[in-house]
C-alpha cells in the first residue's frame, strides 16, 4: 500500500516526463516560426476584433492647447526625407473610386470648399514615440458623403505617391476627428509632412496616417497595407 502523501515511482516518472515534454514543446513553439506564426496571426486577427468592439464612434482622442505643440516635429516615412515625392498642388487631384456614386477626382479647391476642422492632437507612432501637432482639413466623413460613398462598405483604402498604401475600417473613417488634412501647423502641408493632402486619424497609430495621397477607394475586399503586410496589426486603433 503506497503512502498517499508521497508520489509513487510511477507517478514521479510520469510527472517528470510530462513536465519535460511540456517544456520541450514550449521551446519548440517559441523557436519555430512554422509553429508559432499561425498562432500569432490568429491573435492579431482576434486583436482586430477586440479593437473594433472597443472603438467608440463618439469617443474622441484627447485634444491639446497650442502651447502643447511639439517643437520640432519628427519626420517619419518609408523614404528618406530628401526623396519624398513633390506633387504639383495645382494639377493634383485625389482619385476617388470603388463603391461610390461619383468616380471622380477632388482638387485642393474641392477639399477647401467643405467645412474645415482644426485639431491639435497627439500622433503616436507604433515605435512608441509621439508628438503633438495641429492639422486642418475637411472631415473624411464629409468627403465620403460628397462622393456618395456606400457607407455600409467595410474599408477605405489610401494610395500614396511614394508607393505606400494603407486602409481603415468604415467606422473609424466616419469618426468626427478623422480628417483629410491639407494644413499642418497653420500652413499648407510640406511634402515631408504629406502634401498636398494626408489622412489625419488620431484614433489610430501613426502608420495609418497616410501622406502624399493619390487615391481613395471604398471597398468590401480586405485591402491590407504596406506595414500591415510586414506584420503590423491591421486595425491599429488607439
Amino acid at each position: 500500500m503506497p503512502d498517499p502523501l508521497f508520489l509513487s515511482r510511477r507517478q514521479f516518472m510520469t510527472r517528470v516526463t510530462v513536465s519535460g515534454a511540456l517544456g520541450a514543446a514550449s521551446a519548440g513553439f517559441a523557436s519555430s516560426s512554422v509553429l508559432h506564426d499561425p498562432v500569432l496571426d490568429a491573435v492579431s486577427a482576434w486583436n482586430d476584433a477586440v479593437q473594433a468592439s472597443l472603438f467608440g464612434p463618439d469617443r474622441r482622442a484627447q485634444t491639446y492647447e497650442p502651447d502643447d505643440i511639439s517643437v520640432p516635429v519628427r519626420y517619419n516615412g518609408i523614404l528618406p526625407q530628401a526623396y519624398v515625392p513633390r506633387i504639383d498642388p495645382v494639377s493634383w487631384k485625389l482619385k476617388v473610386s470603388g463603391q461610390v456614386q461619383k468616380v471622380t477626382g477632388l482638387s485642393l479647391g474641392d477639399l477647401g470648399m467643405l467645412p474645415q476642422h482644426t485639431q491639435i492632437t497627439r500622433l503616436i507612432c507604433i515605435e512608441g514615440w509621439s508628438f503633438v501637432g495641429q492639422w486642418s482639413g475637411p472631415r473624411l466623413s464629409d468627403v465620403l458623403k460628397l462622393v456618395g460613398a456606400d457607407l455600409l462598405a467595410s474599408y477605405v483604402v489610401f494610395d500614396c505617391a511614394d508607393g505606400y498604401h494603407t486602409s481603415i475600417d468604415m467606422d473609424s473613417a466616419m469618426h468626427p476627428q478623422t480628417i483629410l488634412a491639407i494644413d499642418f501647423l497653420g500652413a499648407p502641408l510640406s511634402p515631408a509632412f504629406g502634401a498636398p493632402a494626408r489622412l489625419r486619424i488620431p484614433t489610430k497609430l501613426g502608420f495609418k496616417n497616410a501622406k502624399n495621397l493619390l487615391s481613395l477607394k471604398v471597398t468590401n475586399a480586405f485591402p491590407g497595407g504596406y506595414w500591415e503586410e510586414k506584420g503590423y496589426n491591421w486595425f491599429a486603433g488607439l
Binding site: L5, F6, L7, F12, R15, V16, S19, L22, S26, A30, V39, L40, V43, S44, W46, N47, Q51, L54, F55, G56, R59, R60, A61, Q62, R122, I124, C125, I126, E127, G128, W129, S130, P202, T203, W227, K230, G231, Y232, N233, G237, L238
Partner: protein, 207 residues
C-alpha cells in the same frame, strides 16, 4: 509520523498557472525590451544580447499574444486561489513583526519554515508581484489603447508618462523574477515541488 492532513504543496492547476505566468512574464519582459529599443523612453537602450532581437513587428505580435496568455493564466490563478480551489499556501495574515524577524533571520542564512506554509516575507513578495502584474496589464492596456482607455492615462499624467510607468513596473517584476529564481534554486526541493508537485517529506513536515 503524524496523521494530520497535510495539503499537497502545489496542486496541478496551480502549477500550470504558475508556469504559464512565469513563461509569459519572461517573454513579455524580453519582447518588451525589443519594443522599448525601437524608441527608448529613457535615455538608454537594452543591450541587444539580452533581447530576442525579433524586430518591432514580431516583438509586438509576441508581446500581445503573451499579454493575453498572462491575463488568462492570472485570472485562472486568482479564481483558483481566492474562490474555487483554495488548497494552496495562504498569502493572508502578514504580520509585520514576523516579516522583520524573518529578514533578520535571513541575514544569518536561517530560512526554515513548515513546507506547507509561506514565510511572511514570501507572502509580501507574492502579493507585491501580484499587484505589479495587475498594474502592468492595466498600464499595458492604456498604452495599447490610449484613446479608448484615456482615463488610465489621465490618472498618471498622459501617454508619455504611462510609457515610463509601464517600464518601471517591468523593472520591479524583473527584480522579483531574479530574487524568486535564486530562492527557488537555493531552497531544497522548491523547484521539484513547483515542477511536479511532490509532497513534503515527513521530516520537513515536522519542521
Amino acid at each position: 509520523m503524524c496523521n494530520t492532513y497535510v495539503p499537497a504543496l502545489f496542486p496541478t492547476w496551480f502549477r500550470c498557472c504558475h508556469w504559464l505566468m512565469a513563461g509569459s512574464v519572461l517573454g513579455l519582459i524580453v519582447t518588451g525590451w525589443d519594443i522599448y529599443n525601437a524608441a527608448p523612453v529613457f535615455g538608454f537602450r537594452i543591450a541587444m544580447v539580452l533581447t530576442p532581437d525579433l524586430g518591432l513587428s514580431q516583438a509586438i505580435r509576441w508581446h500581445l499574444f503573451l499579454g493575453w496568455l498572462l491575463a488568462i493564466a492570472g485570472l485562472a490563478l486568482t479564481l483558483g486561489r481566492f474562490g474555487l480551489a483554495r488548497r494552496v499556501p495562504d498569502l493572508r495574515g502578514v504580520s509585520r513583526r514576523q516579516v522583520v524577524c524573518e529578514i533578520l533571520d535571513a541575514t544569518k542564512l536561517r530560512m526554515k519554515h513548515p513546507v506547507a506554509d509561506y514565510l511572511h516575507v514570501q507572502r509580501v513578495l507574492y502579493l507585491g508581484v501580484y499587484g505589479a502584474l495587475l498594474l502592468l496589464i492595466l498600464s499595458g492596456l492604456a498604452l495599447w489603447k490610449p484613446v479608448q482607455f484615456q482615463l488610465f492615462g489621465d490618472f498618471v499624467g498622459g501617454y508619455e508618462v504611462m510609457r515610463q510607468v509601464h517600464f518601471l513596473l517591468m523593472a520591479s517584476v524583473a527584480a522579483f523574477f531574479v530574487i524568486h529564481f535564486v530562492m527557488a534554486i537555493l531552497a531544497p526541493g522548491a523547484l521539484w515541488s513547483m515542477l511536479i508537485g511532490v509532497r513534503p517529506s515527513p521530516k520537513e513536515r515536522e519542521r
